[in-house]
Every structure is written in structure tokens, then in C-alpha cells.
Assembly symmetry: C2
Homo-oligomer: 449 residues x 2
């Protein structure tokens, strides 16, 4: 039994929806189909979700949004017509949207926005179910609330409630193909609440975990995950198999194939994930698994991300001061800062954090607190750093990976500001200056691929 | 104005004391002489301080210690006779020791031990002063209490009180050569309190800082600090100049030339330190300074130390959990553990700590707490690690140091378990298996020297 999730570009118009349905029908194991809202049909087009947000904002302010509402209905109507579905389908969509808009009088704005945004996936799921039925297949739209997708009442950031899994598991026993709208669930009080943006991946992952799927297929518009950003290297190496850990570390440092949180339910349940291309479904895609056979390549992928800075502290005999590190982290926490890494020498420590968290006022306050409370000899903030990661389960058993990487960087005259290699050896992180990040990624790719 | 401190082997017998005095007299800037207690005259000999400890222990238990006391007095008497000093000098020493022993009835054992141990330096200073006077020089023994060496009342671990510096500064105004006993000061209540063992270096450093010496000379029995442990490499490179930071990092990882805490007062006051050899005073020695000119060698020294272990934790999306690191450090602190470094990946972190702090019971408790309180996916402890450091201010401006180091280790098939390179770049730390530590140090030495 498989869960197949399709992203926005895979459902952008009738033709794409037909591709989706033929993919679903090609494999009888594809039991549950999770859909996003229709995405862009062409570069410069607007996603249905964005049309819905515009409609909701206008209506919230003005109490009417004729034009914006029409834009949404038209998008669906075009699809309905091209799929030769009865016009009642469009009428139902229009009437449902009206009903959602009318709730403005009796709810908060964020609740209203969530309800409107969720309509994109909800209607898309209904259309796909109708279309499958029109082909003579047994298929049904699944109402997430009835099916058990019960979530915390945090608009725009819903979290699945642990008890939901048992109820969702009953989907296994339903007949036919089940079309499940992504991106939202229901609170215990029956209110629509959305996941964070891109959250259809989360829905798919939760459903796959709940029904203990053999595979969670995530259909998108690329043939596979690449070992390096394809904007930097032409025809990069396609990853066939990668572990959750590797995927997670690459996502962190700039890979954006997959919604990060989305992997968690599948990871915890040990459900393999396959990233596939709707437009080229015969391509093997990239499998994300718990454990993989180590190939001759020690490195799975290379990624880089700018936008970091480093707070450097030194204090003579810092190392002897019990609680120093903890007090430093406590100051950061109190100032609402989250940090990434803390490489250290003997009497010095650096804290790497995302630069966008700081502004000159906070920076000044932070330096002052560190000086006053920790009595350091020196504290400075270094800006414009980038982190470059080489990631691979194979590095653990391969002597010399670091030597190859550092030599490749040295040959390109790229200075390594910082190295952080955990004892796991699934990744090695280099800090370089932001201006060097692309060169560093390319140099490392050329060394290992 | 210079402070010259002489260690135990430099004062082990009359001949050595004569060398010391001729060194002092050779430079009129050598105003203050800080002395240790007489050390070993030959391999297998016993230091005066150890004779005093034996004497004190016996007397504390039995109320008498004739033989042990005689051993101490004999050592001094031999020196006094060979230096042709009047026998009253020995008599005064014997009578002072008797007085110290008699205080057993009215004090705690640790106070008693401190008083007895301090006698070693105290009498040595008196003899040196006598001898300089016998040569017709203006010289005097300085009583630390009178001079202002006022310390916290922590027997065996005295800390200088901040107000002491102003009083000690007045030593500048005294005439002649001042002979100052190392290793102890006086509490505010007038009790003798010793520094931690090896603490004559501390005395010298404090006095040098207080009088704002141009140089703090530390005379010992080696020509210089070596760039690597001379037990591992024959005729190792002699370091001419090194910064406090470099010295500190090397001391941490196994260099034991200098008492670590001792550098602090000199460092804070910016007083340069020179390590010299009493038996070869014309050799330039090693200067420890705040800043040094960077030579063609990026690396100043290489050291390695076994006896570490690593606690490895992983948890999916750990990185997003605000306060995770702080809570981990808080658990360690609550269990009385001090840690060295915390290298990290994205969803994993390792804590490196000295292995001797753990036992199976504590280890079990720690793992349990980490599992329960931090809800990690995995926690394991890896034993028998060693840390190898390459240290050098020059690394900051030298691209490729890490590449050279990691390549040198890879060539010797030494697996790098961990790398921690702070943004200061004054040091790079490699974690290797304990069995590989000596090979790693030698491989790195051969690469950089």
C-alpha cells in the first residue's frame, strides 16, 4: 500500500491532473492520493493558494471580493470543463467559497485565513475524486476531519495530535482510491487549521505513517534530488538513495526539495520516501530511507548556505570555568536567539547563528551582556559567513574525506574559517566567507563527484 | 626591572644555587628573585617539599618525627656548609621547623600541612639572600606577608586577592636584590596558605605583574619549550617566541612546562615571560608574549593527550529545539561534569569530556537522564578518545593548514573521529582514537616542522 502525494505543479491544470490520475491508476498499490492546491501553469502564473489569500485579504478588509473570488472559481472551472466534469462541480466550489467567506463575521482573521487557504487543497481533492469516478474507477474524496486528521489549534502551524494516527489507520480498510486534501486538518473543536506553508508534504507523511505504507511517493517536477544545487553545476549527479539523516542535513544547508518537518512522521515510522517526477514517472527518482548500502562514493551531497554570523568569545582559563558554556547559551536563549553550532578552542568559543536574527541594537545589547555577565577578555561578532556541508553516511568508514575536502578548498584559495565535524561523521561543516560559498560548493562537488 | 624565578632543580644544591646567584648578578635588572624549594639533585632523589610533607604527616600522626625532620635539616645544612655560610643559618632553619611543628596542637591538619610545606621555599629564600650578602651584595629576604602577598584562605589552593597588587608594587622602591619565597602567601588573618602545587610559578607571575616588570624570567632545566613532546621526536624544534594563547592551548593538550594558572597574572598585565635554562643561561630560551611576529611556520606546536570520551546524541529536528543545548549542558553541570568541546552536526551533538570523570554508575545515570529529559533518538558514549591539537597564531592567515594536517593524518591511515576548529584559528583540534595519539602527533610534527 502506497501513499502518493502530488505537488502544485503536478495539479496546475487539467492536463496535469490527467497525468496524475494515470500515474495513480498505473499502480494498484497507490491507495491514497494526497493533493496540493493547483500551482503555477507557467512561469509568472499565480498559484491558487495565493489567489485565495488575495481573495481572503480583500474580503476581510472590504466585506466583498467579487473579482478575486472570480479568479479562483475560474481556475477551477477551467479544469472542470477540460476534464469534462459536470458544471455542478464548479457550482459547489463557488458555493463552498461563499460559505467560507461568510464566516468572516464570527471568527478571528487568522482562523478566517486558514479556512480560506485550506479551500485550495480541499477543492482540488474533490475534483480529482470526481475525475477518477468519471473514468469509472472507485474513488472518493476523504474529509480530513472525519478521517481523523486532528491537529493542535495553532493556525498556520498545526501539529498533528498523537492520537490521530490510530484513527487515520482505519483508512486502510476503505475500498477504492482515497483522495485526501493536503495542508490542513481539524482542531478538536472542528475548526480548519493549516500546517505551515508547503504542508501538503506533511499531510502525506502523516497519512503514510498512519497506514504504515510500504512507500510514500512524493511527486514533484524534478527527476530526482541532485547531489548539488543544479544552478551551480550543469547536469549534476542524481541521488538514487539517501538516508533521512543525509536529507535532513542537506535540507538544512540550502536543499529545498522537501518540506523539512514533513519527513518527521515518515522517519519515525520508518516509511521509505520516494521523490518522483509527475512529468517523467518512469525515472527512478530518489529514495529516502533509514539505512542505505554505502556505495563507492563516501559523499551523498554538498550544499551551502550564506546568511550566518559568528560570535567569538575568548577568556583566559575559560575552560576551567564550570557552567560557562551553559550561561552563554542561557543569555542567547533569553534574547530569543537560536544558534547553530558552538565550535571551541581551549579558552575561546564561537557561536554560529543565522544573521537575520540580529540587528545593531540587539547586537550591542548582546555584546554588553556577554562582557558584563561572563567577564570575557574579548567578544566580537563576525558577519557574512556561510556554511558549507558535505554530507554522507559513507564518510564514517572512509579515512581521508576531510583531507580531500580541505585540500580541494585550499587549492581554490578558499580560507576555512571554521570546521565542525561531529563524531557521527554523517556530515562535515565548513565555515567560509559568504563571498566564497558558491566556489566552495563547486570545488567540493568536483572533488567528490 | 625583571623578576627571575628559579625552579627546584635550579636550587637543588649549593652548586646550583651558585649558578642561580651568578645569573642574578649578571644582569642588574634582575631585581626580584623568586625561589622554589630545593628539588631533586639526581634522578631518584627526594624533593625538599616531599621531605617536608613526610615529616608533617608523621608528626601529625605520632607527635614526633625525629628522623624525617633530620632529613630536611640535613639537606639545608649541606647547602649552608658548601656555601660557607655560618652554621647559625642551619640552626635558625631547624628552630623554625620545630616551631612550625609545635603549632599542630592548635590548628587543622590542612593548615598544619600548608605551614610545613611552605617552609621549603621560605628557607631556600633565606639561604639565597644570605649567600648573596656573603658575596658582598645588597640583598634581602622578603617576607611575603609583609610585602603584601595576601591571598584567599583556601589551603593548597590560595587565590591572590585583588588588593594585593598595589601593596606588592611597593617592592619596586626597595633597594638591592629581593629574594622572595614562592608557593605561598598569607591570609588576611596572617595564616600561611599555599598555592596549588608548582605554585612558585604563580608567585613569580603575580610579583612580575605587580611591579610591572619588563620581563618575567622563569628559569628551569630545559633550554626552551619544544614544538612537540621530546619523548616522541628526537631533537625537536625549539620555540623562540610563542603567545600566551598558544602556550595555554599547548599546555592544555599535554605540554607541562609551565604551571597553567601561573600565566594568568602575567597575561593580564601583559608582562612577557621568558623560559630559560639555569644550566645554560646563554641560550635564548622561549619568550611568551601577547603578540608575536608570524614567521613562515604557521604552526607553533603540536600536542596530544589521551583520556577523553564523547557522549553522542542525535534527535530528529534537534536543531529547531530552542534551549536543547543549554538543557544538555545543565544536566552535565548538575552531575558535576565539566566538558571540553561540543562539536555538532544538524541534528546531533557530541560532548567531549575527560574520561576519568565517569564511572559505570554515573554513565548509566547520565544516559538515562538524557533519554528521559531530552527525548533523544540515540545516545551513546564512545570511550578511549584522544585530542590532538595543532596550535599557532599563523594558521589564521595561512590557507590550507587544515588540508595539510588532515592529509598527513590520512596518509598514516589515522581516522579523524572529530574536528573542532574555532573561528579564532589559533588551534585546530582533532579527535582520534587513543591508540593513534602518538602516531598522530608525530605525523603532524613531520608535516609542519
Amino acid at each position: 500500500m502506497k501513499v502518493a502525494k502530488f505537488g502544485g505543479t503536478s495539479l496546475a491544470n487539467a492536463q496535469q491532473m490527467q497525468k496524475v490520475c494515470s500515474i495513480v491508476l498505473a499502480d494498484p498499490d497507490r491507495k491514497i492520493v494526497v493533493v496540493s492546491a493547483p500551482g503555477k501553469r507557467y512561469s509568472g502564473d499565480t498559484k491558487v493558494t495565493d489567489l485565495l489569500i488575495a481573495c481572503a485579504n480583500t474580503y476581510w478588509e472590504k466585506g466583498q471580493a467579487g473579482e478575486e473570488l472570480q479568479a479562483v472559481v475560474s481556475r477551477y472551472d477551467e479544469i472542470v470543463q477540460e476534464l469534462n466534469l459536470p458544471k455542478q462541480v464548479t457550482e459547489q466550489i463557488a458555493s463552498d467559497l461563499q460559505e467560507r467567506l461568510f464566516t468572516r463575521e464570527r471568527c478571528t482573521k487568522e482562523r478566517f485565513m486558514d479556512r480560506m487557504k485550506a479551500a485550495g487543497e480541499d477543492h482540488c481533492a474533490k475534483i480529482v475524486a470526481h475525475y477518477l469516478q468519471s473514468l469509472g474507477k472507485r474513488a472518493e474524496y476523504v474529509h480530513p476531519g472525519n478521517a481523523g486528521m486532528i491537529v493542535s489549534d495553532e493556525p498556520g502551524n498545526a501539529q498533528i495530535l498523537p492520537d490521530s494516527y490510530a484513527k487515520l489507520r482505519e483508512l486502510r480498510n476503505r475500498e477504492g482510491i482515497l483522495v485526501f486534501p493536503g495542508f490542513f486538518g481539524y482542531s478538536i473543536d472542528g475548526e480548519v487549521v493549516t500546517f505551515s506553508r508547503g504542508g501538503s508534504d506533511i499531510t502525506g507523511s502523516i497519512v503514510a505513517a498512519a497506514i504504515e505504507a510500504d512507500l510514500y511517493e512524493n511527486f514533484t517536477d524534478v527527476d530526482s534530488v541532485y547531489a548539488v544545487n543544479p544552478n551551480l553545476v550543469a547536469n549534476p549527479y542524481q541521488i538514487e538513495e539517501i538516508t533521512y539523516r543525509e536529507m535532513r542535513e542537506l535540507s538544512y544547508a540550502g536543499f529545498s526539495v522537501f518540506h523539512e518537518e514533513a519527513l518527521v512522521p515518515a522517519f519515525r515510522a520508518g516509511i521509505p520516501v520516494c521523490i518522483k517526477n509527475t512529468n517523467n514517472p518512469m525515472a527512478p527518482g530518489t529514495r529516502i530511507v533509514s539505512e542505505r548500502k554505502i556505495t563507492s562514493k563516501p559523499v551523498a551531497g554538498i550544499a551551502g548556505d550564506a546568511g550566518f554570523c559568528s560570535i567569538y568569545l575568548s577568556k583566559y582559563l575559560m575552560n576551567r570555568e564550570i557552567g560557562f558554556g551553559r550561561r552563554l547559551l542561557q543569555i542567547l536563549e533569553a534574547e530569543g536567539l537560536s544558534y547553530e553550532h558552538t565550535p571551541s578552542g581551549i579558552d575561546n568559543i564561537s557561536v554560529i547563528l543565522r544573521e537575520d536574527q540580529l540587528d545593531p541594537v540587539l547586537e550591542h545589547k548582546l555584546i554588553h551582556r556577554i562582557q558584563e555577565e561572563l567577564k570575557v577578555d574579548e567578544v566580537t561578532i563576525v558577519h557574512k559567513l556561510a556554511l558549507v556541508m558535505i554530507v554522507g553516511e559513507g564518510m564514517r568508514s572512509s579515512v581521508g574525506t576531510t583531507a580531500r575536502a580541505t585540500t580541494a578548498l585550499a587549492k581554490k584559495k578558499i580560507n576555512i574559517e571554521m570546521i565542525n565535524q561531529g563524531s557521527s561523521e554523517v556530515s562535515i561543516m565548513f565555515g567560509v566567507q559568504a563571498k566564497d560559498v558558491d566556489d566552495a560548493v563547486v570545488a567540493l562537488y568536483q572533488e567528490f563527484f
